[in-house]
């Protein structure tokens, strides 16, 4: 499932991730697309605290793609 949060400055890509992760079942894989450089710090930090898994991150032209798995309900 792709969460295209490019250009989302308010409330921001991480807040979009918080929103969708609560709606989907455990085990769902998400791709979060973010053009906010702050996400490079925030996304791994939040995932660690929230106990979900960061499977990988790739840099694209003008945005980053984070692959994430929901680990618990």
């Amino acid at each position: 499932m792709v969460v295209d949060a490019r250009g989302s400055w308010c409330p921001g890509p991480l807040m979009e991730l918080v929103r969708v992760i609560q709606e989907e079942p455990v085990g769902t894989e998400f791709e979060l697309w973010s053009s906010d450089e702050g996400s490079r710090n925030d996304v791994p930090l939040w995932l660690e605290k929230a106990g979900h898994e960061l499977l990988g991150m790739t840099r694209e032209e003008g945005y980053d793609r984070y692959t994430i798995r929901k680990k618990h309900g």
Partner: protein, 382 residues
């Protein structure tokens, strides 16, 4: 037969877009080739940004409401009724009670709905200011407050006006100072992610300001439940905060009829092309304001800028042309940083916001906007 343009929702987005479409199609409407209708549940227009001002006695409750019929151009027909379902195959709206409203072009501006009941203990344990009656109750609670521990908390995503929790925090600080209660009070702020706002350009100056104002920050804090008897709010992260007064932002969802019509995602938000503002897969349906799933602020300002684009695209379709206008993600929102000071954020899809130093002048611009809203935005007389 006249082309029927129907707008659902008489809030900020629906009202301004209906008036602008009327103007864009002035000769067609006057000549009877196009007919515009607006469907709204009560026919009362609520200016929700006023609710925060009501809490701090800067606006009176009645200043936040007007009859929708006074705001719409006389050639737009107001249909009072609750939309139960949209049949986008038959191009018609089904109202509660069974009345049908057929359309050729549909604009959905049905906003968002607050759902405090999704957080256990919220309805009994928390104050809020996201509807008028709760804003009035909070005003009374603050009036009676004699000092203690106040917690401001965002209890679910998404929520409209993403900066409102920051604003209420700063206004509260100023309010308590003005009443000589700040020394006897603590203010605690919680947010679901590891900082006080979604992106650094805003979070950093706001967190600095919270430090200066003595606000304690608890992040990340994803609200799990509220215990009204013990007066605690707890997070899935394990932290529990006691409170004397809790001000929380409830979770939001899209309108129920969106789900019932098969037009929405899991939260009843309508998948919408972020540039054309067309509902995905529907040639003749446009969406604006809180109702979309576009990952930007659910704000009146967003609806206002989007209305320009929807107007052009609806007018093009009504004339049998192809719609080409694009929304570039523009939004402009003030952030109150006290009872008489503010900053603002202005951004689009490509440019993040950089709020300037808070000042009285920015606050004054917001006051002027609140006063001129009814004519400039709702009636779209500019």
């Amino acid at each position: 037969m006249a082309k029927r343009v129907v707008v659902v929702g008489g809030g900020i987005g629906g009202t301004t877009v209906a008036n602008r479409i009327r103007r864009a199609l002035e000769s067609e409407v006057a000549g009877g080739q196009v007919q515009i209708q607006l469907v709204d549940r009560e026919g009362i227009h609520a200016y929700q940004p006023g609710y925060l001002m009501v809490v701090f006695e800067k606006m009176r409750p009645e200043e936040t409401r007007r009859d929708e019929s006074q705001l719409l151009h006389r050639s737009i027909q107001l249909v009072k009724g609750e939309v139960e379902k949209i049949d986008s195959t038959a191009n018609q709206i089904v109202l509660k009670g069974g009345k049908l409203v057929p359309y050729d072009v549909l604009v959905i501006a049905s906003g968002s709905v607050i759902h405090p009941e999704l957080i256990p203990g919220f309805p009994e344990g928390a104050h809020s200011f996201y509807d008028l009656s709760n804003a009035i109750k909070l005003r009374s609670a603050l009036h009676a407050f004699q000092g203690g521990r106040i917690v401001v908390s965002v209890a679910g995503m998404p929520y409209k006006c993403p900066v409102a929790p920051l604003e209420v925090t700063f206004m509260l600080d100023d309010y308590l100072r003005s009443r000589g209660l700040r020394e006897k009070s603590e203010i605690h702020y919680t947010y679901p992610i590891p900082k006080v706002f979604g992106i650094d350009t805003v979070a950093q100056p706001m967190q600095r300001l919270m430090g200066e104002r003595g606000v304690s920050v608890h992040v990340p804090f994803n609200v799990d439940k509220i215990d009204p008897a013990a007066k605690t709010i707890s997070a899935v992260e394990g932290e529990a905060l006691p409170y004397d007064l809790l001000i929380a932002i409830p979770p939001h969802r899209g309108a129920d009829f969106v789900g019932a019509s098969g037009l929405g995602d899991k939260g009843n938000w309508i998948p919408t092309d972020k540039f054309s503002l067309r509902a995905e897969g529907k040639e003749n349906v446009f969406v604006l304001g809180d109702a979309t799933n576009i990952p930007i602020s659910k704000a009146g300002s967003t609806a206002d800028y989007e209305a320009e684009v929807v107007t052009q695209n609806v007018a093009a379709l009504a004339r049998g042309e192809s719609p080409t206008a694009r929304y570039e993600g523009r939004v402009y929102c003030w952030i109150m940083t006290g009872l008489a000071q503010a900053t603002y954020i202005k951004f689009d899809y490509l440019h993040p916001p950089h709020p300037p130093t808070p000042s009285f002048a920015h606050y004054w611009n917001k006051v002027i906007y609140n006063r001129t809203y009814w004519d400039l935005t709702a009636r779209a007389l500019f």
